[in-house]
Symmetry: C2
Subunit: 127 residues, 2 copies
């Protein structure tokens, strides 16, 4: 279940120029758009924040489904999209399925969007 056809953001994207650095080429724009589209739904944003803010790191689907006024298949569908975007992963343990956040893609997006210095760069520059 953990293996999807994701790999949405490739290896070579680890060192991504931010939005204000240079115009995006078509390929990278398509990659990024896929992830942003996954974030472009309030239900998925709430699901992601539920998962990412969990200190233990894992959230059971049985906990998320009743938190919304939506059917169980709908929640399952949204979780699948978050997985395909590389934002979360999951594992079945017995009857239940647990989800956790993958911070890498989130941090890549944050770095891409930020128009200011990154933490590391700032520390070096102001030292």
């Amino acid at each position: 279940m953990s293996k999807q056809e994701l790999e949405v953001i490739g290896q070579d994207a680890a060192c991504c120029p931010e939005v204000s650095a240079a115009p995006l080429d078509e390929r990278r724009a398509a990659e990024l758009a896929k992830v942003f589209k996954a974030l472009g739904d309030p239900v998925r944003l709430r699901l992601l924040s539920m998962i990412a803010s969990r200190r233990g790191g894992e959230v059971c689907v049985c906990e998320m489904t009743p938190a919304f006024d939506l059917s169980q298949p709908t929640i399952s569908h949204h979780l699948k999209l978050l997985r395909q975007a590389g934002l979360v992963d999951c594992e079945r343990r017995g009857t239940w399925v647990y989800y956790w956040a993958l911070p890498d893609v989130l941090d890549q997006l944050a770095a891409f969007l930020s128009t200011r210095q990154t933490a590391a760069a700032t520390v070096g520059a102001t030292a």
Copy 2:
């Protein structure tokens, strides 16, 4: 033309908790989803990066339209969505219309997505 019905991200959202801090409430999730949806299209991402990466700060529509294999109304439509998301603004000067980036919303999104320390927090902590 600069006045839209935007105000997508309200004043009270200036100090936004990041995704890994706490579960999002419905209202804020809807606000953020609107902006992420605006970023969820490769054409809009390329338009935004063209605008944001321009050193002079402004880009004429007459420069952007021929950069895509799309009709002029389509580009105009995407630029309108970027404006409504609060990501860019524009002004007519004579025959031409110029667009520029509004970094505030971008930085808010970056802060929301980042699972690591922000620049300011890191500087303070490591001083």
